[in-house]
Amino acid sequence: MTRTPLPRTPNRLDLIEGSRALDEQLMAMIIALTSEVTVLRARLDAAERLLVAGGALQAGAIDAYVPDDAASKEREALRHATMKKVFRPLREAAEKELEAAQNAKEEETSR
């Protein structure tokens, strides 16, 4: 049957005194991400255990795995891409501050 989705936002969320909306949003996102990571890790654990049980993987094989040069390079690129993606706002904010400070300096010198 076609059904309407269950509601996800409760009616009435009183303001927590002194708390900024953004703080609450950030906290909610961190909880959701931690939850996702927990689920991912459990899923990976299940996959490993099932592979070992099915004989496709030797117990301890993942912990003993050492990536070769090509794999290491690919992993490095992935790490950098992730960091760039996640911490983009901090880099942008720092660059903006630097730019503002430099502009102020230039104005001062040209005066």
């Binding site: 509601p7 996800r8 927590i16 909610a28 939850s35 927990t38």
Partner: protein
């Protein structure tokens, strides 16, 4: 720590929404997060609060919790704890709702009962009380009265309630309050054999089924405000082999005849209503009971039975941020006065130890709370 069971066959009834691998991990995560907030963050916040409380001049006796809250608002960790607590609760409903929706068809199929022992009666013209509409109780999105024509809101309430209670209230059956209310009736009248029983604010019937099980000869009714949760309550009771008649009505004013019940009871209903509603419910109980019939109301421990300002403030925050519309009203009420004013006699107001199974007791009653979840506040009287 009690695990949340995941095998349908191992459960007490098959209707409860079952999580798949990832959903179970997420529900356990929410459960553990709530335990973390309660056991790792809250004790420090409580210490801070007691430190601040000691600094409030002794002369401040009027509304000390409010004075304490003002001081606590200066602390970032106090706010963080509140935000974490509420977000954990929101995350609980979100993850359970995903899981319930995924198996919607299966749950609807399980709810098709061929020869039901009981019944369900919904009312499309039902006027939902304002205290239900003013905020979704326990932050359950949509609230108790939400109805999309299915029984999924009931499924959400059942599974969410079981995860919320962290196994402290009878695991997946979530029925210790109902067992305790019935154990109280049997404490008062060991040979009690009611013919008609009514559970007010029955929700998904967690507290109604114990009455049907303890008194298999009785005709048992349950009323609540939401059609979806009542449809679920009906199917759930059938799977548990309990003959119960559910109907969508306000506990303040039902359509049952005068003097037609021997036992009318409620479990943690008052703090989800209003002060006016509590008086109306008492009067309705008097109207519904035959002379000599028994009224039993079960609640969480009263506020004046808490000894310090922090515990009281913590309760008030729970009421405000977890949407408990009548927390303060219900937990500071003068139950002796209310019950007497409603025309009842032989009052008993105090604490009944938590019962695992009504027929097994414990059959004792005292003035002192034995602790949250170890005993429940009860106010009872004879019509």
């Amino acid at each position: 720590m009690i695990e949340i069971p995941e095998q349908r066959a191992a459960l007490d009834h098959p209707l409860i929404a079952l999580p798949d691998h990832d959903e179970l991990v997420e529900q356990l995560f929410v459960r553990d997060l709530k335990v973390f907030v309660g056991s790792q963050l809250e004790p420090t916040v409580a210490k801070l609060a007691r430190h601040e409380d000691a600094a409030i001049p002794a002369a401040v006796t009027n509304n000390r919790p409010s004075a304490l809250q003002e001081r606590m608002n200066e602390h970032e960790s106090f706010r963080t704890w509140q935000v974490m607590k509420r977000e954990a609760q929101r995350h609980l409903w979100a993850t359970v709702a995903d899981s319930v929706e995924r198996q919607g068809d299966e749950l609807e199929r399980l709810a098709q009962i061929e020869k039901p022992l009981g019944s369900v009666r919904t009312n499309p013209d039902f006027q939902v009380p304002a205290y239900i509409l003013s905020g979704d109780i326990h932050l359950m999105p949509g609230g108790n009265a939400h109805d999309d024509g299915s029984l999924l809101q009931g499924a959400l309430m059942d599974r969410g309630g079981a995860v919320y209670m962290l196994g402290r209230n009878g695991g997946m059956l979530n029925d210790l309050r109902g067992q305790t209310a019935i154990a109280h009736a049997l404490t008062r009248f060991p040979d009690f054999a009611p013919q008609r029983i009514l559970d007010l604010g029955c929700g998904i019937g967690t507290s109604t089924v114990p009455a049907a099980k303890a008194f298999p000869e009785a005709e048992v009714h349950g009323v609540d405000v939401g059609a979806s949760i009542l449809r679920y309550a009906h199917a759930r009771a059938e799977h548990l082999g309990a003959a119960i008649h559910f109907s969508q009505q306000s506990a303040e004013k039902t359509d049952f005849e005068d003097g037609s019940f021997d036992l009318v009871y409620s479990c943690v209903l008052f703090h989800e209503t209003s002060q006016a509603a509590v008086m109306n419910i008492m009067a309705e109980c008097k109207r519904l009971l035959r002379p000599g019939g028994l009224m039993v109301h079960l609640e969480v421990p009263l506020l004046h039975d808490n000894t310090d300002t922090w515990t009281e403030l913590n309760g008030a925050l729970e009421a405000q941020y977890n949407n408990e519309p009548n927390w303060r009203g219900a937990l500071t009420a003068d139950y002796r006065g209310l019950i007497e004013a409603a025309g009842f006699r032989d009052l008993m107001v105090g604490y009944q130890p938590t019962s695992q199974s009504a027929r097994q007791g414990p059959f004792r009653f005292g003035e002192e709370s034995e602790g949250v979840f170890r005993s429940w506040f009860i106010a009872s009287g004879v019509a």
